[in-house]
Amino acid sequence: MAILDLQRVTKRFGDKQVLKGLDLTVPTGSIFGFVGENGAGKTTTMKLILGLDTLDAGQITVAGQPVRYGRTVANQVVGYLPDVPAYYGYMTPTEYLTLCGRLTGIRQPDLANRITAMLKTVDLPQNKHRIHGFSRGMKQRLGIAQALLNRPQLLICDEPTSALDPNGRSDFLDLLASLRGEMTILFSTHILPDVERISDQVGILHDGVLQVQGDLNALKRQYARPKVQLEFASPEIAQQAVAVIGRPATQVATHVAVPFRGDYATMVEAILKALLAAHVVPLVVDRQETSLEDIFREVTA
């Protein structure tokens, strides 16, 4: 069963049609990478899922319940981490989490225990310091704490890693990955390696609809265009190599990529024979797998 389902969703702002009949299905238990360029409509889609904005047409269901604007029936089910979390700077993290917990219907003393545990999980001190002095990374961690506080079945994260430094990004992705099995996660991003690192499901939003969606490995097989990657000492030699190989090949500076089908070893043997016959020697020979980036380029081209 799918925990989140969008059918033929359309949304227009002024004369800009942002979503043109978007279908999106997030299977229960998956980590779903929601990919698209900046401005493709990822944030809009998430706001629609959360009932923060009105649909022009279509239907959204969360855990079997239809989402209606202004009535987040699903608020016990969903946790949301906004792209730029905005808090009340005059509160301490404990006060803010208490506010959030009360709104989602968690009762004391359970709430106080959960807050203490949650602050420990995200490594924030539980003291009198107010949020207005927090760094970007600390705010992000508080964001995770508030999103997970009600133990949601579905966690929605909007561009969670784009503002973090490399270490923060890596830690955050590890945290998301560690939640696998406990909840379903939908996270949007334009950083493709993040998706490849933790997602099992992926959807690519482009031009108002999902161009592809499904299991990441299955997509890679479907879009498989493996290449032999060769590196030469100089661009001139690389250029010479392209001529010698006698097959479709692309050259970027000292690198040459040769797409192939079938067996890798056979292909490498053929290429090397041709090169050596012309006394052109590659420094590196490697197999280049299909990446999400290749799929992304292909479907958004």
């Binding site: 923060l52 608020n75 949301y80 730029v84 005059y90």
Partner: protein
Amino acid sequence: MSATLTFWHKEWLAAWRNYHVLILAVVFVIFGIEAPLMAKLMPDLMKLALGDQLSIKLPQPTSSDSWQQFYKNTSQIGIFLLALVFSGAVSQEVSGGTLVNLVTKGLPRYAVIIAKYLVAVVQWVVAIGGSFLITWGYTAYYFPDDKSPHVWLAIWPVLLFGLFFVAVVLLGSTLINSNYAGFLTAALVFAGLALLNYVKAVKRWNPIALVTDNLDLVRGTEKITHILPACGVAVVGALVLLGVTIWAFNRKRL
């Protein structure tokens, strides 16, 4: 209901930590002391300014002078200070995006408006009430005369006007995403009502009477029944404005 209560707590914390409570408390206590002080000092100040060459006898100040100063302060400065303090109540949260998170957690939008309204009104009532009691105490002590027979009657219209005025501020703050929108809306409405007062036919119905006729009420030269229609308009107006604010806020993108 419980969400409104939760948000009411949050609003009080905000009012306290953002120094709104402090500002209102200090200013209104100053008003409370200043009214009898000015009344008491007036003859002496006049003497100092004019020197001894004038031998005309200045009238002794009365309780009425004290109350005149009190209502001048509250209706001309106090009410606008209130508008200024609550000017960004909604607009600041919308432009800062602080409500997004809470609304997705199930905070109904009406609860935001109602809690903000009630917290502002309670602050107004406590501020005016405290200020009034201070002036009342000093005035009774320094000016024990019979010039102000209806002291306890004249304060009620001011409190009622606050109900109306806070609703205007909130509506302005909801409609326009600017920190000063609430204040400007309130100032425009106040100016509009003041102009409307030149039309004789609507004078008794004009809510502005609630903050302009107080001295006459204190002295007993005007009966409270005279401005009852204006009181009614203020209360109904406050409720209608509150309803419109909730309606508008329900349609607002956060």
